[in-house]
């Protein structure tokens, strides 16, 4: 049940002096930073930290930190997290000074490689030591990148959780369900970079852009610090007649949202609606009503409304939530939902929202199908990322002199997609057929 509790003047609480810093660790981390930078973010300090000088040089970040100046000498860590960590330790002073003085620190990295996996936990620890609110945004590798990379990523994520206030974890496999079937892996990465940069921007805006209804820093922290530090995020933007509905639908369609399913498990949800002065209360209440269908009665829902003249005819919706442990489902009705809307709107009748819950989700294929039930249904193409680790079968007896420790990395990096760069990967029965057959079969030359 939505409780209307008009409370004004909260905007004063939002501190205009809030200092936000973003640090990208490793190759993927700095690509995400670049995206964030290029998409335009104001008054945020961006720092790229990497072992790989080449990638660092290419980055558009305003601060750059070379990790492992003596240890890795400008080269990457070759997929070795221990080397990544040692490299970061070598640069700890640089990192500390870059992070000091921030109220909120975002750490982003692609886990799986050496620098990201090894250095990001350490950077998170240093960030936490500054007493800032620390939000970490990471990607988990595609399963076809190999078991070793997945394990490295998992280990790293556990370490990060020890220090972070919240972790938003983007699983490449899942994001690719949406993007990869039609794109190459690099586009999939670019799409991931975009999603992550949107999250950073939305959270930053949530905290400091002026609004009719601003959320306090403390409230946002409370949401993010709660639960098992797993955050949910969705962002959508739309214009036109149905812009409120469309923007929400887009936000829910975000790969991290699982079509809104996960929202039901979220203990706290923050919604921020942003638009030019033309956002109407009707739109706001309609949007909240729709969102109500996706959340649990036990969920605490907080609303912020931002006014940004540059939005023109557009409206955007950001949804941020935190997830409890998947095992502990939220207890029903322990507290009433608290939604604050600026002026009294017709209260939503409870019965109505009950009915609404039984309405099929807008995304369900059945709802999209106009024709009557056909005889045969062809399932959508299996996502390309079905791929099992490239090195599925055990290596044929490692001949000692040929057994290179860093072979796993070779698959993904050295054996680049080369001439197949621009085309969609050919993955059949879990094998990436663009990788030479003899490599996948471990046939060695002399």
């Amino acid at each position: 049940m939505v409780q209307l509790n008009p409370q004004f003047g909260r905007e004063n609480e939002a501190s205009p002096a809030l200092i936000i810093k973003v640090i990208g660790v490793g190759g993927a981390g700095s690509n995400i930073l670049d995206r964030t930078m290029l998409d335009g973010i104001q008054e945020v300090e961006l720092t790229a930290a990497n072992t790989d000088v080449q990638s660092l040089t290419a980055s558009v970040a305003n601060h750059k930190i070379q990790l492992g100046r003596n240890l890795t000498r400008g080269l990457g860590s070759g997929g070795d997290p221990e080397l990544g960590l040692a490299a970061a330790k070598e640069a700890s002073e640089d990192i500390q000074s870059a992070l000091s003085g921030g109220n909120i620190i975002f750490v982003c990295a692609g886990l799986g490689g050496g620098t990201g996996s090894g250095a990001a936990p350490f950077v998170t620890k240093l960030a936490k030591e500054t007493n800032a609110l620390v939000l970490v945004l990471v990607t988990m590798p595609f399963s076809f990148e190999g078991r070793r990379r997945c394990e490295q990523a998992t280990t790293s994520l556990q370490l990060i959780r020890q220090w972070a206030d919240a972790v938003v974890c983007f699983e490449n496999d899942r994001m690719a369900e949406i993007t990869l079937p039609r794109m190459g892996i690099h586009e999939a990465f670019a799409a991931a970079d975009l999603t992550i940069s949107q999250s950073i921007r939305a959270i930053a805006d949530l905290l400091r852009k002026p609004g009719l209804l601003s959320l306090g820093f403390d409230e946002v922290c409370a949401v993010l610090r709660e639960g098992n530090a797993r955050a949910l995020f969705g962002f959508g933007e739309a214009e036109g007649e149905n812009r409120a509905h469309d923007a929400l639908a887009k936000a829910l369609r975000n790969p991290l949202m699982h079509r809104g399913e996960m929202l039901a498990n979220s203990a706290n949800v923050i919604v921020r609606i942003c638009g030019a002065a033309n956002v109407s209360l009707g739109e706001v209440s309609m949007l909240m009503e729709e969102l109500n269908r996706h959340i649990n009665d036990g969920t605490q829902l907080m609303l912020g409304i931002g006014i940004d003249p540059s939005m023109g005819q557009k409206i955007s919706v950001s949804i941020l939530g935190s997830l409890g442990d998947a095992s502990e489902r939220p207890q029903p009705v322990t507290q009433t939902r608290r939604v604050q809307v600026p002026t009294p709107v017709e209260p939503v009748i409870e019965a109505e929202s009950q009915v609404a819950k039984s309405v099929p989700e807008p995304e369900s294929p059945a709802a999209l199908q106009e024709e009557p039930e056909p005889v045969l249904t062809i399932p959508p193409r299996a996502p390309q990322n079905e791929a099992k680790p490239v090195k599925a079968d055990p290596p044929a007896k490692p001949e000692s002199k040929n057994a290179e420790p860093k072979q796993e990395v070779l698959q993904f990096e050295s054996v680049s997609r080369g001439r197949f760069e621009k085309s969609e990967p050919t993955i059949i029965d879990g094998q990436d057929l663009d990788v030479p057959t003899f490599l996948r079969r471990h046939i060695k030359g002399k």
Partner: protein, 403 residues
């Protein structure tokens, strides 16, 4: 090209673009008037990835064909391929209403429509609905049910579909060159027309076209298309494998493949090597013959294994055997390897002889493009004069892509 007895076919291949112009003669035979050919750029795995570049190459091939055939091309049969193309078999059913017993054209159209009424993912569109067999009141072996008496008409179809926007890329390319697309044909069907005769189709045959970027296959059993598919792997992969495995640049790997490519294992004498020469003819590195063959062998074997798995259920019905074509079929020993894997006779095959084809185009690379005009010719012969139902079906199918 106002005369309706002239056909043009276009294959936008990964390595070359080929346009064939042919004329249907009064005695029912087909004569090729000219073939245009141009190297292809901006195409990967059989699909356009760089539109403007690919368009220029298609333009070159068209101009070449027009000059050689002295025909101004206005309409073209467009071959398409790509890893997104899928297929399945489905049966359609129609019941004749009370009081009517004779099967008419409308019933044939209805049974086809009924078979096509499947729910495809929204992004997909149907490319072909090919008749396999008709059944009248449960009786099979009906070649043409038109005019037969019955209560129930059933028909099996082979249905091919693909992602609409990806098919449209090729159509758009043709359109921007001010040409009409007469019909969209998947490459494997076209290729089969070039390398199989009626007899082979009846006996059962598997056609595999290994090109530069894709491997396209089709199975005929009892004269009908039984299965088809595309695997987005081709000669480019072999070159890439060699370049990585032998640590040589791509261009050199490509040349080595053309000169020495062989899938045969265990025939090199121990330690046999090939001397790699650079452009100036200087001797460079030595490459081990057995390793070279090994790299190519495992790749081709893998392609054949995938095809074999995908057509498993029809492996025992390939009375005429396996026909391997496309540029990459010229790897030495490929027929033996195919025969070993498919457990039946196999051969590397160029297109069947066709009047007017000069020796330069009697190679397996040109099976698809030559097959396209043969396909067009077949459609033409099948269509009684005037606007038959079949003609309308074709128009409607291709109309879907034109808008």
């Amino acid at each position: 090209m106002a005369r309706d007895n002239i056909f043009a076919g276009l294959e936008i291949g990964t390595t070359k673009i080929c346009v064939v112009v042919a004329e249907a003669r009064h005695d029912g035979t087909l004569k090729v008037l000219g073939v245009g050919n141009a190297p292809s750029r901006g195409v990967r795995k059989g699909e356009i990835v760089d539109f403007e570049t690919a368009k220029r190459c298609v333009h070159d091939a068209i101009v070449d064909a027009e000059e050689r055939s002295d025909v101004e091309i206005s309409e073209i049969y467009l071959g398409v391929t790509g890893g997104h193309i899928r297929s399945f078999n489905n049966r359609g059913v129609v019941l004749l209403e009370e009081g009517r017993e004779e099967i008419d054209e409308q019933d044939l159209e209805d049974v086809r429509t009924n078979a096509r009424e499947v729910s495809l993912p929204m992004e997909d569109c149907v490319l072909h609905t090919i008749i396999q067999h008709y059944y009248v009141d449960g009786q099979d072996g009906v070649l043409n049910p038109l005019g037969l008496l019955g209560r129930k008409l059933e028909a099996d179809f082979h249905i091919v579909y693909g992602i609409r926007t990806r098919i449209q890329n090729a159509i758009r390319c043709v359109k921007e060159l001010e040409l009409e697309t007469a019909d969209v044909v998947i490459n494997s069907f076209a290729t089969a027309q070039a390398v199989l005769d009626k007899h082979h189709k009846q006996l059962g045959a598997l056609v595999i076209d290994i090109g530069g970027g894709t491997t396209d296959y089709v199975v005929y059993v009892e004269g009908a298309v039984k299965q088809s598919g595309v695997i987005a792997v081709g000669g480019d992969h072999i070159t890439n494998d060699m370049s990585i495995g032998l640590k040589i640049p791509t261009a050199r790997a490509e040349k080595l493949k053309l000169d020495e490519g062989d899938v045969t294992l265990g025939v090199a004498f121990p330690g046999e090597t090939i001397m790699l020469r650079d452009e100036t003819g200087f001797a460079g590195r030595e490459i081990e013959r057995e390793m070279l063959n090994q790299i190519i062998n495992v790749r081709i074997r893998e392609i054949f294994d995938i095809v074999s798995r995908q057509i498993q259920s029809d492996l025992n019905f390939l009375g005429a055997g396996v026909f391997v074509t496309g540029g990459s079929s010229q790897l030495r020993g490929i027929d033996h390897l195919a025969s070993e894997i498919f457990g039946t006779s196999a051969r590397m095959t160029p297109p069947l002889p066709l009047a007017g084809v000069t020796s330069a185009f009697e190679h397996p690379q040109f099976s698809t493009a030559l097959g396209l005009v043969k396909y067009a010719h077949l459609v033409h012969l099948d269509r009684p004069a005037g606007k038959s139902f079949f003609g309308r079906t074709i128009k409607r199918l291709s109309g879907m892509f034109r808008s």
